[in-house]
């Protein structure tokens, strides 16, 4: 279906939100109903395009081979013009962002979009930045799309205003401006050393860099990586994340769950491309830093989850945990582990996103409409909140017969089940996809070459043996341990908000707010049911990342479309 649209469909995820966003700006602040409709329609279309691109990429080439779609926006050949490249990884991220965006915009349409001005245009510009960051194959273009995405995210974070949001935004903007400066320094240093900004061209030139310049090259890559790691929330650079994400309005928080994955995506993309096994003296540069940083982030996130009193912080720390796990897993640079990690990325992003939405519904139910209870504005809630004390006149022991057989209101049941689903996903317990993702990662950690190889079997790949060493065992322990800690934190929060919730009314739940939560959790269930296909896809993605030559060739060999006038007159 998409074959005749192809290379041109590739630029649609960038152009569509740009056009819609600009159009909605022209509509002014009135006509909210129209704008909700336009936004919903455009986001749904964006998701559909992402799915079409995913199907196209998956249909191209055999398993293990790279499938790359190239679009030359300026009709200039690769090292001179900007290139958009779509491979399995970018298609996967686009589709994931599409689902999260659809859920988020639907949730916002119920209530939150009225909390401030220009929600819908900002939302569309955010999608544009996301799509651009996933698709571009040019380092400076990546910077521009990062800034589009960040500028929109500043606006979205400020949506709803209020002191807490403004303060969180101030920190968020300051850290991102500093990170952008580092991005520019790193990118221009790479240009100074190699003379190109095209990612594929960079990858070709890095093995040929003179030995005297290699230190400069590594410094550039390190500075660039710090900019992405701050976005991806590695440990010492992630103190901004939890206040910002928990202060954001719920649909924005849900959308931001994909934002920190952009940093991870860029790291994975650039690291596998620039420092692949072919990169000569620079091969796998910095992998150990990713592993160590990821593990520290994982520990920090897990401790943060247990320490959180506020539900929003719990959701924020679950994003940190997922970032840490992914960073450490990517750092090993093994294809099977990366495949498992990509699957875990899908599952954990959907779960974190759903958690942000569920948390908003629970908080509203609990506070009877207010967004935060007074004692929960800061994260200083006592362990025994007022809700936990048995109220006078209500008997909580076994003699209370009345409770038995009383129907649970559907809204509470839905909220409870949704929260439970999120808890199971975040902690990585068996029925849902969180478990499959962690299982895939852990088995790949212990058996990097697959189960059919013996423990002493050493493949020809440098740096990989089938014997797990200390880093592997540490990550294994940390992943399992963090799962336990998040389970404890989530069950404590669940008990406090559902079982100990006496004397509260029944929450009013709108369909438009229930559907997005359901859709995100359904996405995870589909990932579980079609786990084999999803894992096959992520395995192909990881294999393609391990062999970036096909991506490099596709980018470098793309030829501009001939000028129609010249073609007509030979």
């Amino acid at each position: 279906m998409t074959a005749w649209l192809m290379p041109h469909l590739l630029v649609a995820p960038i152009l569509l939100p740009m056009a819609t966003g600009a159009l909605m700006l022209l509509l002014g602040e009135e006509r909210r109903r129209l704008k909700v409709g336009v936004n919903l329609l455009s986001t749904a279309l964006w998701f559909a395009i992402a799915i079409a691109l995913l199907r196209w990429v998956d249909g191209q080439g055999q398993a293990g081979q790279a499938a790359v779609g190239i679009y030359l926006p300026g009709n200039w050949q690769a090292p001179f013009g900007i290139v958009l490249a779509l491979d399995r990884l970018s298609a996967l991220m686009l589709a994931l962002a599409g689902l999260v965006a659809c859920a988020s915009v639907l949730f916002a349409a119920a209530r939150w979009h009225r909390a401030g001005v220009h929600f819908h245009p900002l939302f569309q510009f955010q999608l544009m930045g996301l799509a651009g960051a996933f698709l571009t194959a040019d380092l400076f273009n990546l910077f521009v799309f990062f800034e589009i995405m960040l500028a929109a995210s500043y606006g979205l974070l400020l949506h709803g205003s209020g002191r807490i949001r403004v303060q969180a935004s101030l920190h968020y903007i300051a850290i991102n401006l500093a990170a952008s400066s580092l991005f520019l320094i790193g990118a221009s240093m790479l240009y100074g050393v190699t003379g190109t900004l095209n990612m594929a061209d960079l990858a070709q030139r890095i093995p040929q860099v003179a030995a005297a310049d290699r230190g400069l090259l590594h410094a550039a890559a390190g500075i660039l990586a710090v900019a992405f790691l701050a976005k991806a929330a590695i440990w010492p650079l992630n103190f901004w994340l939890v206040p910002a994400y928990s202060a954001a309005t719920a649909p924005v928080g849900a959308l931001f769950a994909i934002m920190s994955k952009v940093g991870l995506y860029t790291l994975l993309r650039l690291w596998t491309l620039l420092f692949s096994a072919d990169a000569g003296a620079s091969a796998f540069f910095g992998g150990n830093w990713l592993i160590a940083g990821g593990m520290l982030t994982l520990v920090f996130g897990a401790i943060g989850m247990v320490a959180s009193q506020k539900l929003g912080n719990l959701a924020g720390y679950s994003v940190v945990v997922s970032s840490g796990t992914l960073l450490a897993a990517f750092g090993f640079g093994q294809s099977a582990l990366t495949a498992g990690a990509l699957y875990y990325l899908l599952s954990s992003t959907l779960a974190a996103s759903a958690l942000f939405l569920v948390v908003d519904l629970i908080e509203r139910w609990r506070n009877d409409g207010a967004t935060f209870a007074p004692h929960e504005r800061d994260d200083h809630a006592p362990f025994l909140s007022p809700d936990l004390k048995p109220l006078v006149g209500i008997n909580l022991d076994e003699e209370q017969q009345v409770l038995i057989g009383r129907a649970i209101p559907a809204a509470i049941a839905f909220l409870g089940l949704a929260f439970m689903g999120c808890a199971v996903l975040v902690a990585g317990l068996p029925p849902l996809s969180g478990f499959i993702g962690k299982m895939a990662m852990l088995s790949a950690l212990l058996n990097p070459l697959g189960l059919d190889h013996g423990i002493t079997d050493v493949a020809g790949v440098p740096g990989i043996s089938n014997t797990p060493g200390a880093p592997q065992w540490t990550l294994l322990a940390l992943v399992i341990g963090s799962g336990l800690l998040s389970l404890i934190a989530m069950s404590r929060a669940g008990i406090r908000h559902f079982w100990a919730a006496q004397g509260r009314g029944v929450p009013t739940l709108r369909i438009a707010e229930g559907v997005p939560v359901g859709a995100l959790l359904l996405g995870c269930m589909l990932l579980t049911v079609f786990g084999g296909r999803a894992l096959r896809y992520t395995q192909d993605t990881a294999d393609a990342l391990r062999q970036p030559q096909a991506y490099m060739q596709a980018v470098m060999q793309a030829r501009p479309v001939p000028n129609p006038v010249k073609a007509a007159t030979p």
């Binding site: 400076f140 521009v144 209020g162 002191r163 101030l170 300051a174 500093a178 240009y191 100074g192 900004l197």
Partner: protein, 127 residues
């Protein structure tokens, strides 16, 4: 020339970083601006320094790098300046908003460093 530029970038960056770490929002924004200037100069430097060479092709000069300056970093600087300017303006607005909401120009919105934060309810009216 190289040493002058290097010192300029170094001074700008170090002053910027120092200001960025200060507790007042105005100092932070000045720090960010200084860092942005330093970064722009740095991008220029990465295109190699040269005197009396133009980045645009001229009729009477052969089109080799020997006779021209690298035009790409200049294009990059232009983009970086525009983006940096817009972001600084936005930061300024947020800074003013926080000043209005919290009644303090501290980056945390409160003067009370160390010790427990006062209850949020008091801060709301503490203007």
């Amino acid at each position: 020339m190289e040493i002058v530029l290097a010192i300029a970038i170094g001074v700008l960056t170090s002053s910027g970083v120092w200001l960025l770490l200060r507790p007042r929002t105005f100092q932070v924004i000045m720090g960010l601006s200084l860092i942005a200037y330093a970064v722009n100069l740095f991008i220029f430097g990465m295109g190699r320094l040269s005197i009396d060479r133009e980045p645009v092709l001229l009729q009477h000069l052969p089109a080799t790098l020997q006779h021209y300056d690298d035009p790409l970093p200049q294009a990059l600087v232009l983009t970086a300046i525009v983006i940096g300017f817009a972001m600084t303006a936005l930061f300024l607005v947020v800074m003013m908003a926080l000043r209005g909401l919290s009644g303090s120009d501290h980056v945390d919105g409160t003067e009370d460093l160390g010790g427990d934060l006062p209850p949020a309810g008091e801060l709301e009216d503490g203007r």
